[in-house]
Symmetry: C2
């Protein structure tokens, strides 16, 4: 599927309006120029295609993720970024092995994917009756006796939301459902995928088990398969044969960073994405796109610096986090390692490759006029100001925000994000170049404004 | 994805128009009543869900296909159809085994599916350089030396067409490409799937090898994977490791038939679909829908016969063909076995579950007024008359038409048919009930008109 939600012609019309006629000269005009330069063509699509075609998926802790880091460092050097660093951290790796789920007495082989950190069945699999629940609340309310020794199926569903909020609202089924099953004595837990498509591609993702709770097998069903199983449950008792053979072991990952140095040492603005991906697809929407957008935005700024000699006041740092998918391990490690640094603002692009529709902040009150400037420059891109000043930042920015770093949200349209998120379908063909380029234009302009400003942004 | 292309409200508005005010009384008014009764609710969706949920896929010659026949006979009996028969025929069965394709030196595991009748690799697979061709013509033009010992990839693509004609135009890549590869000495042939979606679900389907040509491995790539491979081919030499382990053996299938007897013995009108399906999905669009539409249309007519005592002049026969996917084996067997019978008209529903948009015929000139009557009754369903009188009939009707049987085409909208055709995605959730019901309404009305008529229809 290829969608062109924001036609270039429409952008052209918007840009032709004298929107910036009253803006002060200098840095704001430069930001508008960076925006227009990025929109006219930038490196994001080429970088994204090169990363995902030559490296492919980049499961955290694997050799593939390491190749992703080598790729990133080579690109950073080629783009003229400096202070290129790899900052290692340990993690517990998890690899899925085989998975198979069949309804006993039928020829239905269900499309399933094991959830990250979930446990294994015996090598011969298990056969057990299925206990079906419409949602997590119904499962929570069930007596242990209705669950013990059974394969639990939770048909909890999410909806399509432009801001992706349904993933937050309904995410507990994946995060907490399997642990609840383990505590209630279930043999395994199957969930309806946290996804909004109807293809035979299950949505993987991490779950977690509290200390002292032994992980049990936990898998997601593709939506057509979840709906089939729900119908079979309604029709009568269902027995299932289930095999899942994931393994865990200690491993290592790293964050990769590079800079455009500022003229005043000390203050840093961060933009980035995460380099690791799930293993089923090729990590394009999640989050090769964020990696490519961040690098291309930095390259847009670097080209301006090289051409004019104008340098930003604050250092602009690209951070490509590792091991996001296994629980923000790279993001936490980064925040801990840099807690004494003067990082004043951070943003992450980690919601696909579709257009940005909104800007928001979480900064010191004195910094709000900077965001008003940004909103003015981004408005011709079809980006609304949504000034709650309660922005979350991307997942890997969360730990930085907790240490007082200011946050910028450039919120992407996630209407179709959860069609491909964490599935085999996360592949290059889903990318709409015009929308990808709009992201680069917005990030380049916003980060230039933040880096050439001196207003305080940190919240503590 | 659930689409409602033809809203019920819109049908309601169309039906409210006095379209039939000038129609002659009697059989045409009854046809309109059958149409409206079916549109208000019929058994198709329930039958389709029951077949595909309880039996699932029905690969020709397998136990699953036999269970499909048992299911069909039970449903026919329950609907009050009579003369329920199973007519067996032999076939060469083909089952796919395992398939795996990886790009050497990458972590790309490509989504592939073996093509029906294709050969196997050695159990350890093969590793060979890939020879890439943009289309079948380029492959045909290539010297044998450029192909010998290589894994050939043909990136031939089809387009979206409402009438499905792109499948015919471009089908040769699948039908003839592998045999051409075998003749040129290729180690294997991979084709871009004959499909119009961009999901990681390859489209299987039959290929064929002429007598004396030993089948070689032949597989279809999902479109995202075909596009990845094409990009890798452009970037430089590609080596591939390929495994495919299909097997063939003699087997048996059968056609299943049942009737609403006419008052005048001898003349028969046939409607049907095919019971077998490919094994990757659940055989919903292809062709559980045709089975359900045919049975539900017959049930609609049977309910009228029972309620009024009015019987058709000609016998209405539902034929559910077997082994269509392996080359119309059931259709050919049926035509041969019934060549001496007075089958005057036949039609097949085998293009999914979306709405009918056109009616056409291939009948004796004297029969054309019947089709004008049908067009009048079907017009309120949004069905256009397209009087070429060169209709093809469905695939299994082709062999009947060759013996002189008249043909009716009720052409379905195939815009999204090749998104799911022959893939794992051929599942119940793709069905739009309003459109499915429109099919039943059209077939019930058309077959009633044909069966209550006495004009000659056979072409020889």
């Amino acid at each position: 599927m290829r969608l062109t939600v924001l036609p270039l012609a429409a952008i052209g019309i918007m840009l032709a309006q004298p929107a910036l006629a009253q803006a002060p000269a200098g840095r704001i005009e430069t930001a508008a120029k960076l925006r227009d330069a990025a929109l006219a063509g930038n490196k994001a699509y080429g970088l994204l295609a090169h990363l995902t075609d030559t490296v492919g998926q980049r499961l955290a802790g694997t050799e593939a993720e390491a190749r992703g880091r080598a790729w990133a460092k080579a690109q950073m050097a080629q783009l003229g970024l400096v202070n290129i660093r790899e900052e290692a951290f340990p993690l517990t790796m998890w690899e899925r092995g085989q998975a198979r789920a069949t309804i006993v007495g039928s020829n239905h082989s269900l499309a399933v994917a094991a959830l990250g950190t979930s446990g294994a069945t015996p090598a011969a699999g298990i056969t057990a009756p299925v206990a079906c629940f419409a949602n997590l609340a119904a499962f929570r309310a069930a007596p242990d006796a209705a669950v013990k020794g059974r394969i639990v199926f939770i048909d909890h569903r999410m909806s399509v939301t432009q801001d992706g909020s349904s993933y937050g609202v309904n995410g507990a089924v994946r995060r907490a459902g399997p642990a609840l099953g383990a505590q209630k004595g279930a043999a395994a837990v199957l969930i309806r995928s946290l996804g909004t498509d109807h293809h035979r591609n299950p949505h993987t993702g991490s779950t977690s088990f509290p200390a002292g709770v032994t992980p049990i097998p936990a898998l997601a069903l593709a939506l057509p398969d979840a709906e089939l199983l729900a119908r079979r449950c309604t029709a009568g008792p269902v027995q299932m044969q289930l095999l899942s053979t994931p393994t865990s072991r200690p491993g290592q990952s790293a964050n990769v960073t590079a800079e455009i140095p500022g003229t005043v040492p000390g203050e840093v603005v961060v933009l980035g994405g995460h380099l690791d991906s799930w293993d089923l697809g090729q990590g394009v929407f999640d989050d090769g796109a964020g990696v490519a957008i961040s690098l291309a935005a930095a390259a847009t700024i670097k080209a301006h610096v090289d051409a004019t000699g104008q340098r930003p006041r604050r250092t602009i740092r690209v951070v490509l986090w590792g091991a996001e998918e296994f629980g923000l391990i790279g993001g936490r490690a980064y925040a801990a390692a840099h807690k004494d640094e003067q990082i004043v603002l951070a943003g992450e692009s980690d919601a696909g490759a579709d257009r940005i529709f909104q800007i928001d902040s979480r900064v010191a009150e004195a910094g709000l006029p900077l965001f008003a400037e940004m909103a003015g420059v981004l408005a011709p891109l079809g980006i609304d100001a949504a000034p709650t000043n309660k922005a979350g930042g991307g997942p890997d920015v969360g730990p930085l925000a907790a240490t007082g770093v200011g946050v910028i949200d450039l919120s992407q349209d996630m209407t179709r994000y959860f069609d491909v998120h964490h599935t085999p379908d996360d592949t290059l063909d889903k990318v709409d170049r015009a929308q990808l380029d709009q992201n680069v234009a917005a990030w380049a302009a916003a980060m230039w404004l933040a880096a050439t400003d001196d207003r305080p942004l940190r919240t503590k």
